[in-house]
Symmetry: C2
Subunit: 419 residues, 2 copies
Amino acid sequence: MATQADEELLPGEGDGLHSSGDHLGMRWQVNSTKLVSYEVRLHTDLLDPADPTLARAGITETSARPRRLIVLDTRVHAIYGARLSDYLTAQGIEFDLCVIDAHERVKTMDSVFQVVSAMDRFGLARRREPMIAAGGGVLTDIVGLAASLYRRAVPYVRVPTSLIGMVDAAIGAKTGVNFHQHKNRLGTYHPAAVTLIDPGFLATLSARHLRNGLAEILKIGLIKDAALFDLLAVHGSRLVAERMQSAGSADGGAVAGEVTRRSIHGMLEELQPNLWEDDLERVVDYGHSFSPTIEMEALPELLHGEAVTIDMALTTVLAHGRGLLGDVETERVLRTMSGLGLPTWHRLCTPELLVKALADTVRHRDGRLRMPLTTGIGAACFVDEVSAAELDEALAALRRFAGPVAFSGTAISAGGTHG
Amino acid sequence: MATQADEELLPGEGDGLHSSGDHLGMRWQVNSTKLVSYEVRLHTDLLDPADPTLARAGITETSARPRRLIVLDTRVHAIYGARLSDYLTAQGIEFDLCVIDAHERVKTMDSVFQVVSAMDRFGLARRREPMIAAGGGVLTDIVGLAASLYRRAVPYVRVPTSLIGMVDAAIGAKTGVNFHQHKNRLGTYHPAAVTLIDPGFLATLSARHLRNGLAEILKIGLIKDAALFDLLAVHGSRLVAERMQSAGSADGGAVAGEVTRRSIHGMLEELQPNLWEDDLERVVDYGHSFSPTIEMEALPELLHGEAVTIDMALTTVLAHGRGLLGDVETERVLRTMSGLGLPTWHRLCTPELLVKALADTVRHRDGRLRMPLTTGIGAACFVDEVSAAELDEALAALRRFAGPVAFSGTAISAGGTHG
């Protein structure tokens, strides 16, 4: 056997194949490192027919006969389909469009199969034809999972068209779909080679979906960037009204640009050293302890960012109850949420549901709660224990903060997020 | 913003978050390395109630209340279910058994969903409760994919009970299921933390399934290990008859042990430096250029190793036609295949189907065929072009080699693999 040389190595010692023992006690240790590298890029006028950025994204050498499969959401297709087709034609690309309906209720393996069938029909090559995913966070999560599974991974490019996609879903490594009412129960880590962010797409986004993205930006502000929080507290409603565009903006879009950059940067700072979540204490899980269960139970009523904000409101009050957050800060956080038109309360916030939510979160975080709580605005800690009494008290306090509207269980519509 | 310090770094320079540009031209490069490490271990009497090896596989710290979900194939459950339950009870483990039917026709996402539902029912924790997969290659591929997708990856342990599992399916990183008649169209790279190989399980394996595993061993012999080929050529039929067991064997199982070790070692040597198939020229793809299409078209007639052998017979003749393999070697290879009771011909070997198979293989290997061919026994090269005329000639030559039985299209039953 060719194992003589290898046996001098100890198991676990660096990359390589290390074998030891012999006959029926033989062991082999396989060690291998994988470098994952991806790019996130702000780029305006992505669909300018003269700009090759999108056409060349994710490829290392140009092809004589470039082909691309583009998967896009129904609504994105309705608004941008013609311009996208013109762009690809202008860039000399042979393409197929695969249009799918992408929202939380159809964030399932069936949608992944739709994309996989389109990949088969297109006859996608394994490495040289990166698929392009254009849409919101649900769309890019679905397409990312399809890309991850197809022939055990093909490259893809993300073009987020929603704010939550630009600052959250489309800039990390995660892909995923729901399974049996469980949020993102199935998924992988497979970042797009390149994510191209063109804030121009936000001009056609609804106010509700704009707010949905501001919720995840608010999260970054609350757990690590007080200055970002301040920008939202002061300019939040204007950012919604102006759809974060420079044209027609009082400051030429300076605040919108600053908010976008800080948010993306803060998120990537947290993701990069922990891309595969080896460490289950993640500050970016803030707002994601109760919300996966609330969001799934409320389907289709709440958008992701809305459920996250309800969770953040509850944990803000929990932090206040523990003396981690003062009265003034607590009120400021809750007022900012309301000011952004985001809900701070939902009728599903019952002790029973919240306890059930935490039980699943404990399994997700491998036997410990590891729940981030804010310790002042812009900083966080982790807690493993939340008592039933503490939860009851927080719920009561949150109802008081949320005001009479909340008691009727209609705070969300009153907050205007369905407007 | 906190990007000042980072901007001094160039994009792509080592692990970390590297940002450059500003305003609307800003870019971030996320670089991160992941260490993947797994163990393959030969271990006899795995179900000895006093042996903690299986109970402790894949965990870093012992738990006060250990729990395990075990997924096993129907047939494995029928033979070993009671012993396995006794073993787990003796080891003080609280467990659930999930029994699924695992064969090529149900190697689908539906079977993955069955496993996922069992994981949900069990309430599997994310890291501390490695799932155990016990069965053949189809079973471990299905469970591996479920483990890979569940909460974006949970650990698992593989206990292959078939020979093809022990030397091939259960020792690499690949998981996968078929989709729309396409072999392993959906899958991931997610090796089990530990694979425990107990050749004792082979005692109850059918002769046909034993041969199925010898086909993949033969592949390793043909492309890189002439001594391994010689062992099969000389002892092949005895290994089948004795089910590779030491008890009752003329040599106390010495040849069986040597064949198993050489085969595993050879396979791991090829996999380790290319675990994610960054290099698409893989000698272990030998026998896997035509066979995925043949196997799927013939379903459920051919086992994987049988389809692989038909492919290897064809490519042996192709290599002979190119002068890469002499007359004597060519005959010796084909005679060894027949001697092992493996088929060297199938009625689906028509020029039309073979051309279709190569077209899909070209897509799988990213636009080039990269087909391994043997250059003498124990060595291989790669070719990108196979002409239609060459294929016709090889088919005619193979029919001559395969003898009159093959002409009737019943070579497989005549070869005894269904016996």
